[in-house]
Symmetry: C2
Amino acid sequence: MTERLIQSVERAADILELFVATYPELSIKEISDHLGLSKSTVHGIIKTLEHRGYLQQNSDNQKYRLGVKLFELGNFVGKHLDIGNIARPIIRKLVEELNETVHLTVFERDEVIYIEKLEGSRALTIYSHIGKRAPIYCTGVGKAILAHQSEAEVDRLLLKSDLKPFTDFTLTNIEDIKNHLATVRGQGYAVDDEEIELGLKCIAAPIFNHQGKVVSSISCAAPKMRLDEEKLPKVITGIKAAAAEISRQLGYKDTH
Amino acid sequence: MTERLIQSVERAADILELFVATYPELSIKEISDHLGLSKSTVHGIIKTLEHRGYLQQNSDNQKYRLGVKLFELGNFVGKHLDIGNIARPIIRKLVEELNETVHLTVFERDEVIYIEKLEGSRALTIYSHIGKRAPIYCTGVGKAILAHQSEAEVDRLLLKSDLKPFTDFTLTNIEDIKNHLATVRGQGYAVDDEEIELGLKCIAAPIFNHQGKVVSSISCAAPKMRLDEEKLPKVITGIKAAAAEISRQLGYKDTH
DNA sequence: TCCAATCGTTCGACATTATCGAATGCCGTT
DNA sequence: AACGGCATTCGATAATGTCGAACGATTGGA
């Protein structure tokens, strides 16, 4: 790992981030003191950043603040770096690998919603479609998300749900579900074994965003008979790896 | 103007902006071709930017895209660089200079809304308050904004208004108003001469954002008698200069 | 009104550091 | 297996960023 980083670019980044870390308005002196650089060094970088719109100088006090160019770039990122675009190629690869249907969901306004579905080339496929809601307590994608919420949040969400039994295997007791979530959290993936539909089995993993919050999940859904002793470990490994990669690209820093 | 800009910082900016200008996903080769730099130079800068989260590398094709750090910074800018914060110190200075009330408005959802009011130390002050709506066709702040909308937009807005006469001086005929707006546009400021309230006179100027659109305006409002031959030019100059400075800080590039 | 202090800005000299081109290594394709 | 394309690494060079000092502008206090 003999990375050769560009000093002045790093310093420019240091300066930009200093505004977020300390105060939205800083003078050259303050910056050079914070970073331990000479005033003239800071001045050169600052003037370059100002010239490009990354900083702007206040006219009365001569201090600097972050410029609208960053706002522009940030918006661009927001549009093009959304989870769907990040996840799609990763999911596509996973589908090729497993040749099974893979779903992507997001958790928004207390609901788990399918936002992407990619199918393998099997005859027997899973019924589901983009935009549909998934129950949170008895699906892989729902449980993967639920397992990483605070206990208060879990209680709130479960109390809000009707906990209707879809099959004989559906867990409908809050304590049972909460115990099960601990297992999910521990192993890093969730299993739905015919809990919502007989014959259907899902393996799902949570996706973490740059704040470390779980905001979405992916799952592989297949007829239970196809997920045999040989295939199941592959699915688990694949789903977990894909979820981790999406998380990473979303800016999640895994700190274990 | 012997500015001494830092080359590698400029090149880093070039790279970031290239993603917006061309395509949200670029390879090192594509970047070096576009910018006429060697691959290794680009590689060094890219790795630095990636290291800091300003870029991230896609795992399957090895291309790069803008990173979430920019999203973060952009959001921060959005919060702290909003028009109110930019305008406040500039308005404050103007109030000291003129010792008259100055308003700041934004144009949103077809309405002109006061979002800031700073008063001079006079006994006779103007009634108005933050959050209040201003009619668009017969106030300085409204006309300053209206004068810089497209003709279709002006028609739409005026047809939507009831064009109620507040005083004998209120213009209520669409053609009259549109002719008047041409004057406003030409002189760079709008006058409201007792059009909404007898005895009240306002001088207002438009504020341009970084896209060159007029999204807000400021005005100086005072009893008509106080804006005499001596003071009026000062007010006009002051309001125009303040509006120009706010526009500049919002990222507006005046290209005349 | 003047002086002192503070900070932004400019300047010049130095060596650190970024740069380039060439070499290497890693896929994917034929 | 060999080729092509690309990312990556390496090493030598001088261009470039860095620092300290000097300058200038502004502010506050005596």
